[in-house]
Subunit: 486 residues, 2 copies
Amino acid sequence: MSSTEASNNSGVNGTEAASSRSLLRRIVDFLDEADWSFKKDKDRPIVKFISPDSLMSEYAEMLGLPDKPVPEDVLLDNLKTVYDLSVTSNHPRFYNQLFGRVHEESVVGSLLTDAINASIYTYEVAPVFTVMERLAMQQFLELFGFKNGEGVCTPGGSIGNMYAISLAKSAVFPDARRLGLAAMPPAKIYVSMESHYSMVKGASFMGFGENAVVKVATDEHGRMKVDALREHIKSDTENVANVCQEFNVWLHVDGCLGGSAILSESRRHLLDGCQRADSLTWNPHKMLGVNLQCSLLLTRHSGALQRAHGTQAAYLFQQDKFYPPQFDIGDKVIQCGRKVDVLKLWAVWRGLGKSGLGDLVDRKFTLAKQLANLIAQRQKTDGSFELIAEPESTNVLFWYIPPALRGQPADWSKRDDSWWRQMDAVAPLLKKRMTLDGSMLIGYQKCAASKNINCWRMVCSQDTNSEQDMERIVGEFCRFGEDISV
Amino acid sequence: MSSTEASNNSGVNGTEAASSRSLLRRIVDFLDEADWSFKKDKDRPIVKFISPDSLMSEYAEMLGLPDKPVPEDVLLDNLKTVYDLSVTSNHPRFYNQLFGRVHEESVVGSLLTDAINASIYTYEVAPVFTVMERLAMQQFLELFGFKNGEGVCTPGGSIGNMYAISLAKSAVFPDARRLGLAAMPPAKIYVSMESHYSMVKGASFMGFGENAVVKVATDEHGRMKVDALREHIKSDTENVANVCQEFNVWLHVDGCLGGSAILSESRRHLLDGCQRADSLTWNPHKMLGVNLQCSLLLTRHSGALQRAHGTQAAYLFQQDKFYPPQFDIGDKVIQCGRKVDVLKLWAVWRGLGKSGLGDLVDRKFTLAKQLANLIAQRQKTDGSFELIAEPESTNVLFWYIPPALRGQPADWSKRDDSWWRQMDAVAPLLKKRMTLDGSMLIGYQKCAASKNINCWRMVCSQDTNSEQDMERIVGEFCRFGEDISV
């Protein structure tokens, strides 16, 4: 194609016609060509791993922030390189975290959010978004069974969990806002042994101290033992006076991952009782294919957010405005400027409907069950895998056992220390192999349920997957692990 | 154009050819048509104001989250309506907040970030981004004159300021992480009377209590009076034992707005001395035309972030990884999942260069000076305006004085109470008029420098503006205010 033809045909996807097109159009062309949402090629590698040192030396110029601008063509090439070197959660074998493929509706919602570039604090600068967040929260409160209350989007689930601590503090110790924690009776934060680390971070960041967090034992499914909780609170309250005044204990549900089950008719019962919680966090960016970050906190106590966080900044929340000041929602949060996270959720919800989102959730739960079944089957037939627990959600905990380590007794207490030590070394080695191969990414960790031995925690977040994909995963483990000796 | 022609020419910008195009391309087409970056029409209204109640009733269906999906064409129409009803910071007369027009490079960086959808905690899932943030922070530390240290992007400047409080706590009271604030000697947080409200929010959220914040008096330019600070600390330390151990006082600089002056050769001297601070917050999303949110915190104390916030979550920060674990930067922050905010900054920086960004900063400072001059001129000639202080930065504080209230003595103490009361009512009324007219948006507020009387705080964030635009603004005030009687 000659350059004359190209310029006469500025809408064509080719790069030759690129010079007359905006950078935005050119990056969209590139994303299309690169098949960013894996519509065509599901078999390409998930990562072309290079070490941090190599990355920094091989791409030093590109990674730098120069004094003089680079030409647009160079910038575009740079952006393409960033894409090529990156790991995307859209890859059908990305199981490394709690999230997976994002919907095009979400990316579109994000793009519009960024082109508008509004901060969601006052109605005057974010009329649609403040109202949209407010209405969405009302709908979510209803969904989770809170009769009253309010909610806000938070920058991630960890900070959402900290909000819950903040609301509890404000409810139990209203004077703490002014006087600080030192003037209050000591407080305790009871969490499950398997709870997210944000509770410990929050306790520390917010001045309670990590020692204020009581980790309550869990059963073999990872669920908090209610008797143990009762014992803890009983023995603590003998020492901790006046702690449980008005609210006794503030009950917070961390539904960051599991909260999405509320959208599934067949699985919403898993959340029965959450309507009795004082607050709840939920991350649509985890199970629903909404872009990072989309997290929200709900509380059934209307006005609690303002009581806990309001300062009525003079330059934003003027009370002499000509519209009702309660539409300025920005004083409820701990930020000032706040990125709009609700538009992409709204776009995904409208594009798929609650029914479509519920189907997605069901598919992910079903995939987890199918994976667990395949693993249990292997456990029975050739002992190459071991299922650590029946899945309660979309994550599956299991071991891959290399040939040399198979054939142990079913009773864990009858396996010797050296075997556990060897098993502990399997996952890091296998992770290295899968990463360098680039075929898939799956997370591993030590946890109480795995006797603090490294095990695989595979989160079935990829809604385009089928049972065949789960079989493929199982096969990949065997391919990478067959000759492992540790 | 017939529909056959249209479908044969799928790259064309028209909506007729839309059905075969992806939603992403269709929204880009729309943004182009809508002239989202104001390349063509600078005269259209900034807002078509409707009241919250009308918005909610007129657009109830659109704002809702339905059970069944809506067709893609409906969703696209909805997105267009959202755009039409929204206020965008790209409008050349948006002066309502500290930020203005965003660069196309930034929107492109955001789009790529969202298409990739990586969480920036570990190298394995965000190799380019973890390294890019790390290198950018090293460069920024150098820029601000910190010889060592580290930095991270934070979700907004308020949370960045809270990080500074957290680092100070960790440095002065290393045991507070474990034991909580109640076990520590009482602490004080000294801020300027005019400091951002996030310091008070942070003190409350983080358990110190609002009473721990000491607001130090400011001079007529809004700068903290150093003598007053010395007096405060002296009298407090008589009562507050052991507070100032290792670090004496942790010095934090809130450079969220003003930090960008570091990029201007002629104005970087305004930040002389900041290299002696322990920590500094800076929001490139304010003066540099980067999308919300792009905020960062720098500290000259290497390892301070990990000491303050690290918990080494087992499922993310495994120490037995096959690459150096220090490249997993996620344990330094209080979030877990964290949106990538660095790519858009990197794209803007490469696209404009440090020199181009410095020019932008200069232009904004110059605009503020030009506006102040115009106002001072009016003050002298017809008394229609009054400049409250010579601008120290890009924001200008002034009053518009309606004809009925002009001709007061220069000495503020000689103006009577009823005059001040009337002046206080002018800004809200004028703001209503400008909003309903849709020609511009400018913030007003009460502050110490304005005797707690509502005044205009216009932030010259629009880099496409010229002195003529400032003249136009002044003219608009007169147009809206000529017949005001309060």
